[in-house]
Symmetry: C2
């Protein structure tokens, strides 16, 4: 339903055994990538989901470790014979930054569309990025890093439940059910049927949030509220490195866990590890003592999220 893979788990520079942090989602045959540092195309190749179905690439910010792999990725998508447009989404300076990088890949067999977000991110609005179910909606939240940086939320919305018994009782022909479920009013033999006549209450969708690179902020817990999966940076596991984390505008495992708890998320995946931390699992307790469902990840840690049964 909602496949998600953390293509890399490193911060700052790619290492022989750790790619840079990047998340890919696959929903109904459409893929969305968040961040694309150097060598992201290699780990995506290993994952095996292909390149052709990447419809959207979002950028948190324009430090090289989050975007330097874009030229290679654009060419790999081109080599996959994609001809449909590709949408790039990111903070201010998106067009300027991508234009600079495209000096080495000026010709592509598909159009690039830009959604350059304002400094305030998406604010209270949402961007529909996928038509699956009741739509996948993206929101962007300004964070607190050394340059403008956004966190992202992806929300796969679910239609309210269709009440088959009521539809049958009203004698609505079956071929009209789908229209009603998608919010359309139908008229059959001069009788009008409206969605509210056959639809039940709201149902939970699936929400995935991605927060890196930043210090903790007051707005993050509300932004990630009730997420099924919260992917969050933890550059250091050791609480004694707080001063260093503050200096670099990053956060500790324990700070990510505190956000996870405050946001009431279901699960926390830690990522964006410092090259100085070869084995993040050594520090998992510093997160779990605050938020139990905390996990360190490896490159291509992957899961499929499904709707709850409401």
């Amino acid at each position: 339903m909602f496949d998600v893979s953390l293509l890399g788990t490193g911060g700052m520079m790619p290492l022989p055994n750790r790619f840079l942090t990047s998340l890919i989602t696959r929903i109904g045959g459409s893929m969305l990538l968040i961040d694309c540092g150097e060598a992201t195309q290699i780990t995506l190749k290993s994952l095996g989901w292909g390149f052709k179905d990447i419809d959207v690439i979002c950028f948190t910010h324009y430090h090289a470790d989050h975007i330097s792999g874009l030229p290679g990725m654009l060419l790999a998508i081109g080599n996959s014979e994609r001809t449909e447009p590709l949408t790039l989404i990111g903070p201010p300076n998106l067009v300027k930054t991508v234009t600079g990088l495209r000096t080495i890949c000026p010709e592509l067999p598909y159009e690039i569309k830009f959604i350059e977000l304002p400094y305030a991110g998406t604010g209270d609005s949402e961007i529909r990025v996928n038509d699956e179910c009741d739509g996948v909606y993206l929101r962007a939240l300004p964070l607190d890093h050394r340059l403008i940086c956004f966190g992202y939320s992806l929300h796969l919305k679910r239609l309210p439940k269709f009440d088959i018994e009521r539809a049958k009782a009203l004698n609505i022909p079956v071929n009209n059910w789908n229209l009603l479920q998608h919010g359309k009013t139908v008229v059959v033999d001069g009788v009008e049927y409206t969605p509210d006549m056959v639809m039940g209450g709201a149902r939970n969708g699936i929400k995935v949030c991605y927060i890196t690179d930043t210090r903790p902020t007051k707005k993050i817990p509300e932004f990630i509220k009730d997420a099924d999966l919260f992917v969050c940076e933890g550059i250091y596991g050791d609480d004694e490195k707080l001063d260093k984390a503050i200096d670099h505008r990053h956060m500790l495992f324990s700070e990510a866990a505190t956000l996870a708890k405050e946001g009431n998320v279901k699960r926390l995946w830690l990522t964006h590890y410092s090259p100085s931390m070869p084995d993040p699992q050594n520090y998992i307790d510093s997160a779990r003592r605050i938020f139990k469902a905390s996990y360190t990840c490896k490159d291509r840690t992957t899961d499929t999220l499904v709707f709850d049964d409401m």
Copy 2:
């Protein structure tokens, strides 16, 4: 003396088990890199030579697979605490291309110097890129690719042999020998001694050539003449792919071997393999039947070249 490592052997795109073609040399503590595609910093990290001593980076051309790793490499060199200037050398449009890429790495702790070569390459002149022995000299030859592309030659020159017996016979004090060997005239107690009085004939240095991406050209054999190591592209091993090689302005193993033979080189390292060719060794006979000392390479195939004993 002259360490050389082929950091990657792939063409077009980096693969999970094959980095992009790039050559690094290390002569007297100074490193020179030719080409820097996406993820070159990862394979260099694996090699373990460090980043700080890279004094020069040359580019054959500006297709992404030969330069997309530059931003990450510049940052890695910066993280190595280098403060000395770094020299970039390449065909026309070097400054424009690097400026575009530096949109994502505008601040570096060292200066970048540019040597943007004209369309004719270095012609009959040479660029001194290292002071080891009698100097390391670089030459660039225009090739035949889909856009302007240069091959490179690196020549570590050797001083003529110093004739100790003659110096002793002339009673030249030992502390003057080094000056004479380096071409200086010295005066001791009113007597003038010139280098020709104590120097023997010319001695061979070490010559390494790097030719990719191109069709064979008439000028290549003369350019690579008598090289100790000829690193050359061979995108396909199978002679039946000649039409495809011509279309893409690349060459076959057999064409590279023919150049090696015509240039009278000592050894040929084949590289820049198509992603469609998982095991280049399967085709080595197509090169060896023309030039015996042909070798396929793997990422980080490394050797140390030494002066012959003349």
